[in-house]
Amino acid sequence: MTTLDLAMATVVGGLFATGFFLLLDRSLMRILLGVIVLGHAANLLLILSGGAPASPPVTGSEGPDGRLADPLPQAMALTAIVITFGITTLLLAMVHRAWQLDGHDEVRDDVEDRRIGTVHDRAEERAAAESDLPADRGERR
């Protein structure tokens, strides 16, 4: 069981908040930045889970308080950094392709979903129009 100091907890929390905020944007570039920041937040948390800062994970070179850092989270963070890096590159390529094809980098709506929505709206309007007609006549009488 390791505990987190307040400063680091604030940094990780801030990174997560920023990342999710950017992720909610409609511009793909900002979403990509959000993913990068979120990746940093997760990786930092992973490193922090191995113990307090300033103690190296090498025997014979203990930190100021004579403690060793746990090397396992560092190995995992390294793997995770490589993975997030690779995927960021892929995303960047896709954003660029979207920009090439569409001329902008906004997230677009699901066309088919829109269509089904309008079909439903029109059916409702038609039903409403049909049920309104007899009611109008009734009022006139």
Binding site: L38, A42, D70, T79, A80, L90, M94, R97, A98, D113
Partner: protein, 500 residues
Amino acid sequence: MTAWLLVAPVLLPVLVAALSFALSGSRITQQVLGVSVLTLTLTDAVVLLVLAQRDGPQAASMGGWPAPLGIALVADRLSALLLTVSLAVALAVLVFAIGQGNADFGESSPVAFHPAYLLLTAGVGMAFLAGDLFNLFVAFEMMLTASYVLLSLGVGSGRIRAGMTYTITSLTSSLLFLTAIALCYAATGTVNMADLGLRMTQAPDGVAATLSVLLLVVFGIKAAMVPLHFWLPDSYPTAPTPITAIFAALLTKVGVYAMVRTQTLIFPRDDVWLLLTIVAVLTLLVGVLGAIAQDDLNRLLSFVLVSHIGFMLFGLALFDEAGLTGTVLYTAHHIVVQAGLFLVSGIVVRLSGTASLASLTHRAPPPPVVAGLFMLPALALAGIPPTSGFVAKFVLLQAGGERSGWPVTVLIAAALLTSLLTLYAMTRVWRAVFSAGPDRPAPRREAGNVLMLAATVGIVGLGVAIAVGAGLLGEISEAAARDLVDPDGYREAVLGGGDG
């Protein structure tokens, strides 16, 4: 020996993927390589299944590091069974893809398809065999990265749009998974799942509950459980048929598998899980109601897929041996049935040139062979008696009947209603696509490419085999569920003497 058997489903496809990429000049070589390596891993998976069924869980530690520290690969009955079924489906879908690629593109089919496809199967295999959380994360990343490539292979702004949605959603879930791993490690000092199960009991209740729900959300996004399903019906239908089929069959099921594995092994509980019960009811109903509203054939099938994830959550929500038996059986059956339906839909769309049900009603119906190939998995999905779906649903409902309390009653009612509505959705497809009518041209004679048809027949045949061999499969599922409820055998295999 066992160690090699366990490594093979991961290592072989990765190595062959590299080879396939290097030899991308020759289409035939790529195809032969892909089919032969998948046949080989399928054989390997069958051997693992026999070993796991006979001797219990098989485990191996990689690189000479013992279990809690090193990377462990484990094959118990559940993972070996799902691995076997998945690889069989992956092989059939690859044959279908080769047929379609030859017919549609000839020599100009995309170079990256075969390597990406093999990496996808390697990722799926590793996810089933992973013994620790971090390895599971790496497996997910491998599988998802390959799937990002497959989904956005073709040009076209529709594909890119759908691909972005899919990639960003999956990526968010992966980063949350990484966060969960970090928190698990901070709380317990281990990421090995067998070890985590032991140490999580000493963690405070609040910490364990938070991690449990965080992992549920992570795998819930991947498994497309409502309300985390929005990305799926948006992105899957835009891909070419074989890719949609393999995604629908495998990716969501890997999410379900990971959910079952982590929740039973790390956070065991004694009673019905209310949260998951509610989620299962929502998934069942929202999915199937969404399916009824659709006009596009592939979108309809995608919504049905979401809905039927609810059946798998059903068994997990009950959290007992009978319920988990149902989940295992349902997952195995659904991999086959869903892949079969998407392949048939691919053949229909190719023949008629449209996926819209409204337009399909005016086109000539596909030949009777294709209609038969659609009917078998469609009936299995709805759970009509002699099919595989009936057996799986029967086990689930029976397990539900043994538990008391109103949430379970609601869940059973929702499951029955969903089966009925699934049948309605399938009837709609049948009427629009296959039924003859006075104002419709006569059915077509030609059924398209032979390889595509053969692959579909293979998958549908596998579904029939599951129904026929339900006794044997039920036995394996029951034993798998017993292992899940009482994971001592799993722990012993991983933590003690797992030197391979």
